[in-house]
Structure formats: C-alpha cells, structure tokens
Symmetry: C2
Subunit: 178 residues, 2 copies
C-alpha cells in the first residue's frame, strides 16, 4: 500500500499534478518505486478523498487543465507515522536473474543480448541520476531538507554502478561459454 506514501513523499518536495508525478516517478523515486500514470491518478483520487492531499484545478488554454495536488498537514503526519513502521524486505522479482538460474534449458545467445540490454538500461539510469545530482544537489547550497534525498540518490547511484558491474562480469562468463 506504499504507493500512497510514495506519492506523498514526492509531494513533500513541491505540489505537483498527476502528470508531473508520473514523470518524476520515472526520474527520481523511480528507483525505489515504479508506477504507471494510471496507477498514480487512481491513487491520487484516493488520497484526495482521505484529505491527505488538496487538489486545485488550474486552467490552461489548449491543453487539458492541470490538477495540482498539495500535501496537507494530515498527509505529512501520515508520512511520519508510516516512517515509524518497520519496512519489509523488498520482494525482488527479476526475470533476468531467474533466467540465469535456469541456465540448462536456456538460450545462451538470447541471454547475452538480454544482459547487454540490461546493462545499457542501467547505464542510462545512472547517467540520469548523476545529472540530477549535479543539477539539484550542489554541495554549496545543501539545505537540511535535501540531505535525505541526496543520501537516497547516492544509494541509487551506487546500486546502478553495482548492477552494471555484476551484469558485465556475468556477461563475460556467459560469452566464455558459447
């Protein structure tokens, strides 16, 4: 049920529309929590009805009107309460690792391609994170507010690097077997 909290956490930064959130999810919180725009709109409706966000429609000419959501005090208190609860171990579900585990009955050539592709994806994400870090987290003007997000971001960066390393190593081993 933490999609609700993921959205609230995003909104602690600044008020956003569903569309903004969907993009934001791809860029930043995306590493910790993925969601499609449909899921986000659906959850926003629930948050609104629980009074955890306040929504304001902003007229735009041409494009559809934006509905900008602001986190309420009640919303912030929900985030705080949630932070006290012990998080569960993430239930990893990785197709690619699973395929590797099933090696014997598996197409090695396809695996090599899958892995190359995966490495590229992680590299793209790493670059994105590095850009975000460079732009938004300049050391000189680091506010207390941003420290947490910076640490989270750095964890994300380290994780991407690790994924690239692990898959590159595995790729070498897989190629040696063809």
């Amino acid at each position: 049920m933490a999609l609700a909290e993921a959205i609230l956490v995003c909104l602690t930064e600044k008020p956003m529309s569903g569309y903004d959130l969907a993009k934001n999810f791809d860029a930043s919180v995306g590493f910790f929590w993925r969601a499609s725009h449909q899921q986000i709109y659906r959850e926003l409706a629930k948050l609104r009805s629980r009074n955890l966000v306040q929504s304001e429609e902003i007229s735009q000419s041409g494009k559809p009107n934006r509905i900008v959501h602001t986190i309420t005090d009640e919303g912030r208190s929900v985030v705080h309460q949630w932070s006290l609860k012990q998080p569960r171990m993430p239930s990893v579900k990785d197709d690619l690792l699973l395929k590797f585990y099933g090696f014997d009955d598996i197409d090695l050539g396809a695996m090599v391609e899958h892995m190359s592709h995966r490495i590229e994806q992680h590299e793209t994400r790493l670059q994105t994170y590095l850009k975000i870090k460079a732009r938004h987290y300049d050391k000189q003007e680091l506010t207390q507010l941003k420290t947490g997000k910076l640490i989270a971001l750095e964890m994300g960066i380290e994780n991407e690097k690790q994924q690239i390393k692990v898959f590159t190593d595995a790729l070498v081993k897989a190629r040696a077997l063809i």
Copy 2:
C-alpha cells in the same frame, strides 16, 4: 506471470513437492523471486493442468502425503521459449529507500533502527548464499549443468555485499544527523 517459470526453473534441478519448493524459494531462487507457499501451491495446480509438470502422490505415514512434481518435456520447452523473450526491468519497490527519500517528515531514530535491521537481514542472506556456494558448488566437481546457477548465485552474493555496504554508509550519514 513468471512465477510459473520460477517454479519450472527450480524443477529443472530435481523433482520437488510444493513444500520443498517453498523452502527452496527462501534459500536460493528467493533472491530473484519471492513467493509464499500458498502462491506456489496455486501455481503448481495451474502448471499441472497445463501439463508442464507431472505430479505423483507419495504415501507417507503420519505426515500428509507428499505430491512430488516433475517437469515435463513440454515444461522444459516453455522455459526455453520464455528465455528468448526480453526480460523487463525489475520494478523495484523498497519501502526503506522510499522513507529515506522522504527524510524531512520522517523519524530519524526509527530510520536508524530500520537500517540496522535491514543490514542484519542482508548479512543473514549473504551467509546463507556463501554456505550454499561452499556446499554445492565446489570447484573440482563443477558440471556444465551447474555453471549457470553458480553465476546467478555469485551475482546474488555480490548484490548482498553491495546492499550491506550501501546501507552501512547511509547509516553512518544518518547517525551524523541526529
């Protein structure tokens, strides 16, 4: 829908009962794919009806009878076909990272405890993997059959190490802020 494949992959190693699979999931494939025993039994029923596994009831006195499932040739071919399909990026959902990202409205003391706990969990898992590696993947008797699983296992080991490192670093940073 890859729970089906996760089970099939496990069964390529040796025929197993639902109970065995549930334990196996905790120990080995568990890193790539988590599932409860209920989910596994449910999926096994489907696999049986699709003729991807063959099930044989083995009488036991005292305990309930075991139902041992063997992967069929059809099952193996499904695994092969599945291996050709491009895997999707795993959709990470980590409560703890998310909490970190929402730093401002969050209880730092609780966070420190959450992280210590998480580190312990990863350490336990790492030890488990290392034991599995030492016991079942002795270099002298490495068959072609086992190479894939070994690579997967080593990826798992590296990942656990990385998680421990990342969270330990973050823990230090978090403690400095209290």
